[in-house]
Amino acid sequence: MNNLSSPNRMPPMALSVTDLTVRFDSDQGSLIAVENVSFQLRHGEILGVVGESGCGKTVTSKAILRLLPEHFSKITNGKIQFGNDDLVRVTEQRMRQIRGAEIAMIFQDPMSALNPVFTIGYQITEAIAQHRSISRKAQQSMAIDMLKQVGIPSPERRFFDYPHQLSGGMRQRVMIAMALVLNPKVLLADEPTTALDVTLQAQILDLMDTIREKHKTSIILVTHDLGVVAEVCDRVVVMYAGRVVEQGSAVDIFKNPRHPYTARLMESLPQSDRHSRHHRLPTISGLVPDLRQRPAGCRFADRCLITQQRCVQEEPELVSEVNAAHETHSWRCHYPLGGMST
């Protein structure tokens, strides 16, 4: 107890999200995009977040930095513990200190995420200038150094390029350089490789892995791609229709999925390919429920193969189990699969 409240002790988690709930309001009424989402990011790990399109992955990661459109979305509940701050409640001023410097984010589409009318050098040094009062020269050399680290050839020249002059892979490297230039503790990567072709995907993933090793950055890696998860993630969060439905170590999730949704995702991967890269999330028959009309029971009920009466009536609670390696594995299902095997 004492230890926990002492400010000098390193917090046990790099980032800890508890019961995060986000609501969107629009002309057509409001919807809860993300509901009671909880997960923890450990120091130096890569945490994968997977789920079908629209399940709330992007909303979750943007909510962490409070980057959701302010006039029609609201974090209605929850806590995001980062060091001594609860990011849901800190002042905008403190939030701005954190953004870019302590928690950085990279986005799916590097073309639209970079401002087309500024040079990449300007965009990177702007981030530095925002958080450090150092000379222009120093900012520049920091930026160029970072560009070199992410593998941009002749960074001194590229510094003056505009985004459209770079290839897709280069742009994503620039995004990564911009995110990492201040050596943040946490990196939120929202589908960083989705817009890239296969070879580039591999290079960018290797780069992220290297960065994690070198700078001890903790990374949340949002992805569609189970191959990516298998490749680099230590632990995995599976989301479905705005909820976390299963969470555990990558090994548990792949070898011993308990939630029928996770299992279906895994099954539809051919066995031999299960560990290869670039596997888009397989398609499962049926549609994600409309978030405006949430069912009373389990959200997966109308697509699940083993639905029972209870599933439709009552939403399952999150159940946890600690495995032999002392890893927590949790799921949200009345009739979880397997359990014996490991």
């Binding site: 930095l65 953004r99 984010m105 459209h164």
Partner: protein, 311 residues
């Protein structure tokens, strides 16, 4: 760049030719005998014949059209039916008053509308924004003529702040006559421009790079005034450039209402008197300006937007 501009100029030629054809057909073919309509009912056949000869209207239509083209190339449009002055001189003396009216009006309108639009976009969705948008729509829904009539009544008649009507050529003296029409022009234009600029800005604020900028920890002010505004400046410049020809055309309505001897007034008088040489010259000059300003806009675009390459 030079090659590009040259090619664009070449592409402009068919449009200018088109304008000459339309004007020529409208007035020479459908408009009846221009000299007869100018001289009116009481003219004798001899009068008409004499004037037709003087203006070359006794030639065949194709020859007259060629004459017209030749005039354009020499930039000499002959003399007005009514005043007998060289048309080019009339145009030159009309441009000054027109510009004194339209240029300040354009600059003020743009400045005011861009500022209001920025405020609106900055507070997007909030009460201030909704109020400003609503005011803009209201402003757009009132007739131009009502603005003029009420402006004249309230600001020049009831509160004698400005002159109701007239013009003096002195550079200082002219403003007491021009202020009111400028105000009216600004008020009329602000509603439209504000809405246009706001929607451009709001469109920009939904782009991904805005989120990236916020994710770097930048302030809202910096994101809006540096990142958003620089992107939004392209459509803003375009809209301003597109109005440049209209600076020279002047404002038909305001000039005639307030008695300002500009291009608009000149055209109205010419139309009224069937003063064909003036009408033809005016149309061509404006269309040339139009083509030129389109080209300039594209060149400016290329200068401001690194993505655009002129080829």
């Amino acid at each position: 760049m030079t090659a590009y501009v040259l090619r664009r100029l070449l592409h402009g030629i068919p449009i200018i030719l088109g304008v000459t054809i339309v004007t020529f057909i409208l007035f020479h073919v459908f408009g009846g005998n221009p000299i007869a309509s100018f001289l009116g009912k009481n003219a004798t056949l001899a009068d008409i014949a004499a004037m037709e000869k003087e203006y070359g209207f006794d030639k065949s239509l194709p020859l007259q059209y060629l004459d017209y083209l030749y005039q354009i190339i020499r930039f000499d449009f002959g003399r007005s039916f009514a005043t007998r002055e060289p048309v080019v001189d009339m145009i030159i003396s009309g441009v000054g008053p027109s510009l004194s009216l339209t240029l300040p009006a354009l600059l003020l309108t743009s400045l005011i509308s861009v500022s209001i639009a920025l405020v609106s976009a900055f507070f997007r969705g909030q009460l201030v924004d909704r109020l400003l948008v609503f005011l803009a729509v209201i402003g757009m829904s009132v007739s131009f003529l009502v603005y003029i009539v009420l402006g004249q009544y309230l600001l020049a008649f009831k509160l004698p702040l400005f002159q109701i009507h007239g013009y003096e050529a002195g550079f200082i003296d002219r403003w007491q006559y021009l202020s009111l029409p400028i105000i009216v022009m600004v008020v009329v234009g602000t509603g439209y421009d504000t809405r246009f600029y706001r929607s451009v800005m709001v469109e920009e604020t939904t782009k991904d790079y805005i989120v990236t900028a916020f994710a770097k920890g930048l302030s809202r002010r910096r994101v809006m005034f540096v990142h958003m505004l620089k992107n939004a400046s392209l459509p803003i410049i375009t809209r301003m450039m597109i109005s440049v020809p209209f600076l020279v055309t002047g404002s038909l309505l305001l000039e005639s209402f307030f008695g300002i001897p500009g291009m608009g007034n000149m055209l109205l008088t010419a139309l009224d008197q069937a003063d064909l040489p003036v009408i033809k010259a005016y149309t061509v000059v404006i269309s040339i300006l139009f083509v030129l300003s389109n080209i300039t806009t594209d060149v400016l675009y290329a200068i401001f937007d690194p993505r655009v390459k002129l080829s």
